[in-house]
C-alpha cells in the first residue's frame, strides 16, 4: 500500500505528493495528516502538489477537508505548486477551493505560513524533540 510521507519541520508539517492521487491514497493522507497535526501540535501544514497532474472533485474535496480539519485543530494549511492546467480544470469543474490558502511555490508557501501563525520563534521549545526533522 502506498503511503504519502509527512515530514515535520519545527512547527510545520510538510507533505510532498509525488504520485498521482487515487481515492484511497487521498483518504489515507487526510486521516494521517489530521492525526499528525493532533500528535505534533503543528501550527501549519504545507502541501506540495506540483507533481500532481489531475485533481478531480473528490481530491479537491479532500484538500478542502484537510484545510478545514487542520483549521479546527488550530493549524493553517497552504497548498503550493499547483500546475496551471490543474487550476484551469478545477475552476471549470466548479471547484474554486474556497478556504484553502495557496502559494506558487514552497518558499512562498512557507513565508505565508510563517506570517499567518505570527512567526515569533515560538518553536524554540520544540528543538528538544528528537524527532524534529531539521536543526
Amino acid at each position: 500500500m502506498d503511503k504519502i510521507p509527512i515530514l515535520r519541520m519545527g512547527n510545520f508539517l510538510l507533505v510532498t505528493i509525488q504520485v498521482d492521487l487515487y481515492d484511497r491514497l487521498a483518504l489515507n493522507l487526510e486521516a494521517d495528516l489530521v492525526q499528525m497535526v493532533n500528535k505534533t501540535g503543528a501550527k501549519g501544514v504545507l502541501i506540495d502538489i506540483s507533481a500532481v497532474s489531475i485533481v478531480d472533485s473528490f481530491m479537491g474535496r479532500i484538500i478542502g477537508n484537510i484545510a478545514s480539519m487542520s483549521k479546527i485543530l488550530d493549524a493553517e494549511t497552504v497548498v503550493v505548486g499547483m500546475q496551471p492546467a490543474v487550476a484551469i480544470t478545477l475552476i471549470e469543474l466548479g471547484l474554486p477551493l474556497k478556504g484553502v490558502h495557496t502559494a506558487l511555490d514552497m518558499e512562498k508557501g512557507m513565508d505565508m505560513l510563517k506570517s499567518m501563525i505570527g512567526f515569533t520563534g515560538g518553536d524554540v521549545e520544540d528543538q528538544t524533540d528528537d524527532d524534529s526533522i531539521i536543526e
Binding site: D20, Y22, D23, R24, S53, I54, V55, D56, S57, F58, R61, Q83, P84, A85, V86, I88, T89, E92, L93, G94, L95
Partner: protein, 137 residues
C-alpha cells in the same frame, strides 16, 4: 462525420483498474498530440466518470476510441455500467445535486470539461455516458 480510428475496451472493477484506465487514456491523448490543458480536462472528466461507475454501479467497462472529423482528432470515451441507473437525469446534471455524499459536481463539471457529453440511463438496467474531447478545442 466522425470516424472511429481505433477502439479499445478496458474493464474497470477494482481501484487498480482505475489507474490503468487513466494511463491508457493519457497514452491515447498524447498519441494524437492533445495539448496539456485538454489532456488534463479529459483525464479529470474520465476520473469523475470512472468514480461514479465504481461507486454507484460497482464498476463497468470503458471504451476508448480515437476519432477523427476532418483534420481534427479527438478521444471518445464511453463508460457503460449495469448499475441501478439514474432516475432523474436532469437533477443529476444540476450543480450540487448528489444522492451520495459528494459535492454533486461530477456530472455537470464533467460536461463543462469536454466538447461533447451524452448520458443515457435506465433505472434497473444501467447507465452509459459518452464524452468526446478534441485535440484542439
Amino acid at each position: 462525420m466522425i470516424l472511429s480510428l481505433s477502439k479499445d475496451a478496458v474493464q474497470v472493477l477494482k481501484e487498480q483498474d482505475v489507474v490503468f484506465l487513466k494511463n491508457r487514456v493519457k497514452e491515447v491523448a498524447v498519441k494524437i498530440k492533445m495539448g496539456l490543458v485538454n489532456q488534463t480536462r479529459l483525464l479529470t472528466a474520465a476520473s469523475e466518470l470512472v468514480r461514479n461507475m465504481m461507486r454507484y454501479a460497482n464498476g463497468g467497462v470503458c471504451i476508448i476510441e480515437v476519432v477523427s472529423s476532418g483534420r481534427n482528432n479527438g478521444v471518445r470515451l464511453t463508460f457503460s455500467d449495469q448499475g441501478p441507473g439514474i432516475p432523474d437525469i436532469d437533477a443529476a446534471m444540476r450543480d450540487g445535486f448528489s444522492t451520495g455524499k459528494s459535492l454533486g459536481l461530477g456530472l455537470p463539471g464533467t460536461k463543462r470539461l469536454v466538447n461533447e457529453f451524452n448520458i443515457k440511463s435506465k433505472v434497473g438496467e444501467g447507465t452509459v455516458v459518452t464524452i468526446l474531447k478534441w485535440a484542439n478545442g
